[in-house]
Each structure stands twice: as structure tokens, then as C-alpha cells.
Amino acid sequence: MKQNNMVAMILAGGRGSRLHDLTNKVAKPAVSYGGKYRIVDFPLSNCANSGIDVVGVLTQYESVLLNSYVAAGRRWGLDAKGSGVFVLPPREKADANLDVYRGTADAISQNIDFIDTYNPEYLLVLSGDHIYKMNYAKMLDYHKENHADATIAVIGVPMREASRFGIMNTNDDGVIYEFEEKPEKPKSNLASMGIYIFDWKQLRKLLVADMKNPDSHHDFGKDIIPALLNDGKRLMAYKFKGYWKDVGTIDSLWEANMDLLDKKNELDLSDPTWKIYTEDVTTLPHYVGAEADIKRAFITQGCVIEGEVKNSVLFTGAKVGSGAKVIDSVLMPNVVVEEGATVTRALVADGVKIGKEASVGNADSEHIELVAKRVKGVE
């Protein structure tokens, strides 16, 4: 099926070091979220649902798992003829040295040859570590209607938090006249979501020049967008309404999971018209035991619940033994909470075992406790 003439490139090279032990072995986009997903499922599913056929995923940090994960384009339906998900780690080229990606723009520059093979009219640049649902086809329509040279998706953030973001200052018609990275005194609350649509031919020229510039950071926010503005190009802000979360820290990852427990949560993962696709795991449905007590929870297949689960999100294959309590917590895939153990206000990393009668986390703590190592219980 011939769809829109736009290739998507997902920047998935970041480590996400503020997620500490969660990203020791996997890159941030591969971190689990929402019971059965990985963060990168969101941009990939958005691409598939938006009718984009070709998606490049730019990987760098701890990319073995991420590479094999995203290479199976079939999971997101990106496997029709002429369609595919392509894993693009830095590679050695005939005319250049092997170089890591020096910045977000450099990651695209080093793959100009890949993009050229599809000869797209438009290039969509995405971040691999945000949680949101967005129809990029609508954004492309907006880009075309406004005869823009580049369109940047923005979201309104509370004014007091605006200085944490890259802020777009716009005229009433949505034309961007200024971009400020983390301004002390923000003039607007429109934060860049790191989602860009470019006219590919124009961007290509700019990237070629940028590669040769020794003073450049090779970054979209720091170099490319300011350069476009300096050149007097027409940059449009595309206002997004809906759920959007950058899960940079353990607290925000926990919070994003907790958001799913609300009755009318904005992300709405059960919308049949915009499904989020992920790996198909072969497990039983979840089992709820005779003594179990579940209130306000998000639970997926493969879980076994014999104890108490309140206000918590349980990922694939998590087990809660009898008499155990899981309160205000997130249990990542295959976590085992043994009999009588208690988990409070914690995020337990993949496969970690909380031993019998052990207790982790604290109801009064300011931050969420990350439990990344086995906790011994009563033997």
C-alpha cells in the first residue's frame, strides 16, 4: 500500500541515565511501561497507525535488545511490501571514519544515504522515549496546508514548569519566531515535543553543512532549528492536545504508570481505533486466587495474584504470593513478590524477587524507591 511520502526516523540512542539501574542493560526506549509495553512501542505504533511505511530507528547505547526488538516490524504491522522498521546504529562508511552519533542531527546526517534510497518528500523526526498517541498524518496535513518548511509539535505546559523545556515562541497564526532552550523567563508555555516534520531536500542541505561545521553540537534544538529561523524559513508550531509524558526519572516513570489507574485516563490504551502494538508474549491470562484482594490496578497476562494489590501496575508475568501486599507500586515483568512480603511506593525492576516477609519502599517517602536487586526474605 502506497501511503504518505514521509519517512520517519526515531531517535532511540539515549541512555536515560536518570533511570539508574533500569537502563544499565537496556536503552531508555526499551524500558517497560504500562503493563505490557515498551516505551518505543508508542512512536512505532503511532507511525503504523498514521500510515507511515518506512521507519528508521537510530540506536546507540546498549542497543542489542533494542535492535532485536524493533527489527521485528511485524509486531507493529510494519511489514507490508515496501514497508519496514530499520535498525540504524552508527556504522563504518567508505568515505568516513566510524563515528558514534555526535548529536540528534548527526544521527540523521549519518543516515542520509538510507533516507535517500526512499527519496521521501518529508522527513519525520521523533524521539523514542516519549509516551503519547499522535496521528502524524494530521500533523503532515497541517505542515502542507501552512506551506511550512518545518513543523514542530508543541504541547502547552504549566507556565511555572516552562523553564524546564525547549519553548517555542509563536505569532497568533502559529508561526514560530523564536526558539528558547530552557528559558529563565519563558514568554510562552508551548514546549517542543521533539517531533519535527521537515522538507527533506531542505533539511538534507542543512545537515550536510552542519556535519562540516566544527562549532556545531549537531543537535536539532541547538543548531538546526536556530539555523532555519536565521535563514528566515517558515516554521510552524503544531499544537498537540492529549497525554504526553517524557519519563526521564524513576518518579516520572512511576507516575506515568499510575496515570493509567484513573477511570478516564487520557492515554486510553483500550481505544480500538488507535491500538498500541507490542511483542506478543505466550502466556496464560492472569490468575486471581481465592484470597486475593485487588483494588485500583492495571494487570496483564501471565500475572498470578494470591495476595493484595492496591493502586498498582503489574507487568507481564508478575507474581504476588499469598499474604503479600503491593501498594502504590509498579512491578515490572516477571517480578516475584513472595508470601507475606510488602512492596510500598516502589518500582521493582524486571525479574527481581522480593523474598518472603521482606518489606521494600515506604509510604511516606518523597521519591519512589527503585528496587533493582533481589531482596532476601525469611529463608
Binding site: K36, S270, I276, P285, H286, Y287, I294, A297, T300, Q301
Partner: protein, 371 residues
């Protein structure tokens, strides 16, 4: 290359599951929330490295075809393997002509073209796991003409009433095959699973056609018991037949028990099914769920006990679901009380406040129905 190809066979005309079978063949019945009955035989084949699988379907194929798709989800190699659905023209005059032999005969050209030397035939209306490769090896070593799989039960008086049973001699030789008429407790229930050479299978199909248009595979095999070396092999582990409404209901509820489930599901023997990309299930503040198996994509505000909940079901505030099976997409409205029911796909219980039957005679709510 595997030495055998697989056939998934349909149930005989004497088997009819009231209600559910009006809409689909037994293989396409929803089972334990996220599975279909046919996932078990096909996963058994796939896990046994038998990747040429012929699925026969006689009537109401829509749901089955939709579920099987390309067969990729069964982990069958997409080049070397193949999952093929074979139809047969049903005789409109009289259902007695619509036998499995008639279906095999109609597709005999395909069976003759298979390269594999052996065929393994398994039913689409029974739930069990079996390593077919091991069964094939024991068949070859025994030098028998036909190997038949059976399960010894001690409740044949009240259960398995529509199934065949094997009469065996002490050396496990099959003396005869007959219908279970409930006359004795201890019986060897035939699991409708055969191993034989492809050539013998073709010969039997042709022979059966000559003898009688009504002949079925078990009937022709029974007739050959004296001529051929036919042996029984006992199966161990979980075994359930879906041969009437009650057995469907009982089989689903029996697997809520985690020990029982452990006798069927093994990490090293995955049961594959088609993903539906449903989100996890959401439990709300007011819910109360005990001793149940729950699939993904549900919204649960009410009470659930001793029940199997399919994908994407909605159980509203104050609703009570007890000893019941909800097929995917069922909706139980506010304060409705459901006991001992099978609620078919997308049925909605909104206006009725009580739909109650007994465990001995469970009730059925039709597909897409609103009560």
C-alpha cells in the same frame, strides 16, 4: 524435514455443542479466556516440529479462518511450513453424508501429494498437550500399522458420553472401537488421535468410501482391527473433550484451579494463539475478584468469582459474575447478577437483573444478544 504431516480433524455428526456451535466450529470456540480450542492441536504440532498442517473445516468456517490467519502466530516456519485450511462440500440432502472420510476423500489429491511418509491426525474438539514427535517415534519403533492415543478415565459413566472408547488387550493392542454409552466407570477414552503411514491412510479412506458413504474414520479403523496391527498409547496429563455444552463449561472452569492448569500448561510447551493487542485489564476501586482467570482488555468494577473472563469484557458496578464463562467482549451491566452462565461474544446483559442457572445445567446467552 519432519517425517509426518498433521491433520486437524472435525468432530463427527453425533457431536453438537448447543448454542455456541450455531456460530462456529468447535475448534474456534473461545477457551480459557484468550485461547481457541484449536490452539491446542496446532501448538502440539508446531512444538513437535510438524509444520505441514491441514485443518479440516466442515461448517461455519468464518471464525476459524479469522483466527488461523496465515498461521504465523503458531511459530510455524513460513517457508518450510504451511497451515492450510481444507473445506469440503457439504451435502445438503442429508447430514449423514458429511463425514470426515467424505472430506478426506474430496481432498485426497492434496494428501497424496504430501512428501511426508506419515500422517498424524488430531481432533479440533479436545484439549490436551501431546508431543507428537515422541508419539511418532514410538509408533515407528513398535512397527505397528496404526497407533491410537487414549486416556484412561474413571468417570466414563457420566462423562465423555459422545466419545469413542478403545477396547484393548493386555499388550495394548486395539480390539475394537465403540461409542461410550456410559455403561462402565473405567474406560479408555479414544482421543481421536491416530498415527499411521500416509499410504495406509489413503488406502483406508478409499476403502471406507467403497463400503459405505456414511463411514467415518473410527468406523473403518474398527473394521480393520483384526487385519492390522493397531496399538493404543496411553496419554497422561490434562485431558478434556468439548463434546457438548456441559463439557465446554466444565473444561473452562476446571482450569481456574492452578494445579489443574499446571498439568496442561508448561513453559517448555507454549500454547500459541493470535494476539489481539488488547491493553492490560483495569480493576477499579469497587471491584471484588476472587478465584478467576481474567484476560486482557477488561474493565472490572463489579464482583467476579470462580469464572473465566474473556478479552475485553466489561463488568459494571454492582454486577456479580459467579461460576460463569464470559466470551470476549461481553458486557455485564450495573447490578446484574449472572450465575452459572456461558455468555457468548459481545452479548450485553443490561436490562435483565438476574440470569441464574445451576452448575449442573448451566445457561447460555447468545452471541451479540442484549438481555
Amino acid at each position: 524435514m519432519a517425517k509426518a504431516f498433521g491433520i486437524v480433524n472435525t468432530a463427527g455428526n453425533h457431536i453438537w455443542v448447543e448454542g455456541l456451535e450455531n456460530y462456529r466450529t468447535i475448534g474456534a470456540f473461545s477457551f480459557l479466556g484468550r485461547y481457541r480450542v484449536i490452539d491446542f492441536p496446532i501448538s502440539n504440532f508446531s512444538n513437535s516440529d510438524i509444520e505441514q498442517i491441514k485443518v479440516f473445516v466442515r461448517r461455519k468456517p468464518r471464525s476459524l479462518i479469522d483466527h488461523l490467519g496465515t498461521g504465523r502466530h503458531y511459530s510455524i516456519n513460513s517457508k518450510r511450513g504451511k497451515l492450510q485450511v481444507l473445506f469440503s462440500e457439504n451435502s445438503a440432502d442429508n447430514d449423514i453424508y458429511n463425514t470426515d472420510i467424505a472430506a478426506f476423500y474430496e481432498n485426497l489429491d492434496i494428501i497424496e501429494r504430501m512428501h511426508e511418509q506419515y500422517v498424524i491426525i488430531a481432533p479440533n474438539y479436545m484439549v490436551f498437550v501431546q508431543n507428537f514427535d515422541a508419539l511418532l517415534q514410538s509408533h515407528i519403533e513398535s512397527e505397528a500399522d496404526i497407533t491410537m492415543l487414549y486416556h484412561s478415565v474413571d468417570n466414563a459413566k457420566e462423562a465423555y458420553l459422545n466419545c469413542d472408547l478403545l477396547n484393548l488387550n493386555k499388550q495394548k493392542g486395539v480390539l475394537s472401537i465403540e461409542k461410550n454409552r456410559g455403561t462402565a466407570k473405567n474406560r479408555n477414552i479414544f482421543m481421536a488421535t491416530y498415527v499411521m503411514k500416509k499410504d495406509l491412510f489413503i488406502e483406508l479412506v478409499k476403502k471406507a468410501r467403497k463400503i459405505s458413504s456414511m463411514y467415518t474414520l473410527p468406523q473403518i479403523v474398527n473394521r480393520e482391527c483384526e487385519e492390522l496391527d493397531i496399538r493404543g498409547v496411553a496419554h497422561r496429563g490434562y485431558f478434556a473433550t468439548i463434546t457438548d455444552f456441559k463439557s465446554y463449561y466444565d473444561a473452562n472452569l476446571s482450569l481456574i484451579d492452578s494445579k489443574m492448569a499446571a498439568s496442561l500448561f508448561d513453559e517448555d510447551w507454549p500454547i500459541y494463539t493470535r494476539t489481539n493487542d488488547s491493553s492490560p485489564t483495569q480493576y477499579f476501586e469497587e471491584c471484588d475478584v476472587k478465584y478467576s482467570v481474567v484476560s486482557n482488555g477488561c474493565l472490572i468494577e463489579g464482583s467476579v468469582e470462580n469464572s473465566v473472563i474473556g478479552r475485553g469484557c466489561v463488568i459494571r458496578k454492582g454486577a456479580v459474575v459467579k461460576n460463569s464463562i464470559l466470551l470476549p467482549g461481553a458486557l455485564i451491566g450495573e447490578d446484574a447478577r449472572i450465575e452459572n452462565q456461558v455468555v457468548d461474544k459481545r452479548a450485553r446483559i443490561i436490562h435483565a437483573k438476574e440470569v441464574i442457572a445451576t452448575p449442573e445445567k448451566p445457561g447460555y446467552v447468545r452471541r451479540d444478544d442484549t438481555l
